[in-house]
């Protein structure tokens, strides 16, 4: 059985992440929001603002996933350490920071007037932590890819 290329695996992972995010924002978030609105009618006015915020935060996530897909495409073509990939990885890191800051701000905005449910706080903190992990990974991979590209070019120009 022919083994699947690593780049194809990566594309599968990126695609799966896209599906997970879609389910999270399209199904889980509204369902959890409805449950909270029913259980705590005094804060049901927050349902739509929170849901819209979650949908807006999906935009940088999908941009980052699209950039990751393009990185995988370049890897598939044998062009792993291109300048474009260095830029894309840095952009992924920046977008992860943006999403992390968005949710950090949202947590603070809800925590100050004592509207933050502990369960929501826990989930959001986990998400923020993941965002900053992705950001660190993106920046680190960008630096490594840049250095690898320099070494590759030097190797190609060594006769």
């Amino acid at each position: 059985m022919r083994s699947i290329e690593p780049a194809v695996w990566l594309k599968l992972v990126v695609g799966s992440c896209g599906l997970v995010v879609l389910v999270a924002i399209g199904v889980v978030a509204p369902w959890v929001g409805y449950s909270f609105a029913e259980d705590f009618p005094e804060v049901d006015y927050l349902f739509w603002p929170c849901l819209i915020f979650i949908w807006v935060s999906a935009v940088p996530i999908y941009v980052a996933l699209w950039q990751a897909w393009r990185v995988c495409s370049d890897i598939e073509r044998g062009n792993s350490f291109s300048a474009a990939n260095v830029r894309r990885l840095r952009l992924i890191g920046l977008l992860a920071v943006v999403v992390g800051l968005m949710y950090t701000g949202a947590m603070i905005a809800l925590a100050v007037p004592n509207l933050l449910h502990p369960g929501v706080a826990l989930m959001t903190m986990l998400g923020v932590f993941l965002c900053y992990c992705f950001a660190a990974a993106g920046f680190a991979l960008s630096r490594l890819a840049a250095r690898a590209g320099e070494l590759q070019q030097e190797n190609e120009l060594t006769i």
């Binding site: 070019q153 030097e154 120009l157 060594t158 006769i159």
Partner: protein, 69 residues
């Protein structure tokens, strides 16, 4: 790059074409072009040895240091 590779002079002296040089040294035409155009970052001793063997010359005959480079 301050190190200049002067292949043309030795090729003319030995009445050899670039194609023949690439075939006899065992490097591609693209690499020979990189050498001639000064885009090479480094040359392996093994490659230099083969070039000198094929052109019957010394490394100093084809390598020149230019302070302006």
């Amino acid at each position: 790059m301050a190190i200049v590779v002067n292949l043309d002079v030795m090729l003319a002296r030995r009445k050899m074409t670039v194609t023949e040089l690439s075939e006899r040294v065992g490097i591609s035409m693209a690499n020979v072009s990189i050498l001639k155009n000064g885009r090479a970052r480094a040359i392996r001793f093994s490659t230099l040895e083969r070039i000198c063997e094929v052109l019957a010359c010394q490394p100093g005959d084809i390598l020149e240091y230019s302070a302006d480079g």
